[in-house]
């Protein structure tokens, strides 16, 4: 077995590593599955924090069930993981609903608040917000409109080009430059 996997590695190599409980292989799988599950749940309308919670539940279940499973390819593994995530989402929604019903039935006697009057905001959140503001101040309106459309609203470049009355090539260049600018700013801050 190679000490590390490279571009030419096959799925069966990877599965062998998982079977032998290779910590690095599991870390890689966790890295990928986190994105697979989170993106899938976000596309279904779940919030990022909820998706993260469901991901943790899903991965724990997958880790427990894994020794009993065999997968021919990554596509099958992904489908299996997403079916677990689907069950976990339903479970989570059921729990949430029950919790809400309990609250409405029994009033709010479960409500217990801490005694402080005003709470300070965690410092890192304020820092993040300032960072976002500062970074975006370095971009023009057109650049921001393109980035929001492409990465936030999921619009195609062609749609954005039509909306802004520019050519698709032009949009691609502006997007590329804006991303480069942001990346440089972030690396400067790091």
């Amino acid at each position: 077995m190679n000490p590390d996997l490279d571009d030419n590695a096959t799925f069966s190599d990877f599965m062998l590593r998982l079977k032998s409980n290779d910590a690095r292989a599991w870390a890689r799988l966790r890295f990928v599955l986190r994105r697979v599950i989170t993106y899938w749940l976000v596309s279904k309308g779940r919030k990022v924090a909820e998706a993260d919670l469901i991901y943790h539940e899903t991965f724990t279940t997958f880790y427990e069930l894994y020794p009993r499973c065999t997968f021919e390819n990554f596509h099958k593994l992904k489908s299996y993981v997403l079916s677990i995530a689907d069950k976990k989402t339903k479970e989570w929604l059921r729990q949430k609903k029950t919790h809400q019903q309990l609250q409405s039935l029994e009033g709010s006697h479960l409500v217990r608040y801490p005694e402080e009057t005003v709470y300070a905001e965690p410092a890192e959140q304020i820092g993040d917000r300032d960072l976002v503001k500062m970074l975006l101040r370095s971009l023009g309106n057109k650049e921001r409109e393109i980035l929001y459309g492409y990465f936030y609203r999921g619009e195609k470049l062609k749609q954005i080009a039509r909306k802004l009355g520019l050519s698709e090539g032009n949009i691609r260049v502006i997007k590329h430059r804006a991303l480069k600018k942001l990346r440089t700013k972030i690396s400067e801050l790091e």
Binding site: D4, L5, D6, D7, N8, A9, F11, F14, R28, L29, F31, V32, R35, V36, Y39, S43, F74, H75, K78, H99, Q103, G107, S108, H109, L110, V111, Y113, P114, T117, V118, Y119, A120, E121, I126, D128, R129, V132, K133, L135, L136, G140, N141, K142, R144, E145, L147, Y148, Y150, F151, Y152, R153, G154, K156, K163, L164, G165, L179, L182, R183, I186
Partner: protein, 231 residues
């Protein structure tokens, strides 16, 4: 997936923008299992895209498209005029004397409606009516949540607790702010006002009004708007 660096970069960008088909996305995900360079690149790109998404969410992603005719200066003037209008409106609303019998902007609690003209006929137990919930920003940018209403009591007074929450799931989370308001030996129909400074501007704020551990009202309000939506 033996591709050049640029191809991989473009693929990852399309993946993060959710612009790939399911099969293509699965291929990228499988490649990420084996390729350290792409994983590092993905993390780097995610940082940038997270910043873009946070900003788009904060601004509501509704920025108007550029390239339209019209000078920047004119737009600046319009924006200033709109802001000034909003500030004046806010000042007018806040400074308007509450004791004037102006119709409340908030829906009237049906239990209280018959009492508005005859406050002496107070029901038992106490009834209160939240008339306005709004947020206000001072010139220094500090945000305050204000709850205004009217109380009808026969019990010699009441203690109200106000909480401001950021999330819908306010039962389990720490409130942003908390205030206690004691209304002792008040006359029927007395107006009350409770102001809570909020630690930072946020999205929706949930104002929760509680009396003796019983939630009386939950109001959802967006900072900068004074048209609350009652849940």
């Amino acid at each position: 997936m033996n591709q050049s660096h640029c191809d991989r970069h473009n693929r990852l960008e399309l993946y993060l923008a959710h612009q790939l088909s399911d099969d293509e996305a699965t291929a990228v995900e499988e490649h990420l299992l084996y390729c350290e360079t792409c994983r590092k690149e993905l993390v780097r790109m995610e940082k940038v895209i997270d910043v873009i998404r946070s900003a788009a969410e904060a601004e509501g992603g509704r920025r108007s498209p550029e390239g339209r005719p019209g000078s920047t200066r004119a737009r600046e003037w319009l924006r200033t005029a709109a802001l000034l209008g909003l500030v004046l409106l806010e000042l007018y609303i806040v400074d308007a004397p509450l004791r004037k019998k102006t119709p409340p902007s908030y829906p009237i609690n049906p239990a209280i409606e018959p009492l508005l003209n005859d406050p002496l006929r107070a029901p038992s137990p106490d009834v209160l009516n939240i008339e306005r919930v709004f947020t206000q920003r001072d010139p220094q940018g500090r945000l305050t949540l204000t709850v205004q209403g009217r109380i009808f009591t026969t019990m010699g007074g009441v203690e109200l607790k106000f909480y401001a929450h950021r999330n819908e799931d306010f039962i389990n989370e720490r409130p942003l702010a908390r205030r206690i308001l004691e209304l002792r030996e008040q006359q029927n129909g007395t107006f009350f006002q409770c102001k809570m400074p909020l630690p930072r501007p946020a999205g929706w704020i949930y104002a929760v009004l509680e009396r003796e551990n019983e939630i009386l009202a939950v109001t959802k309000v967006l900072p900068g708007r004074s048209n609350p939506h009652k849940e």
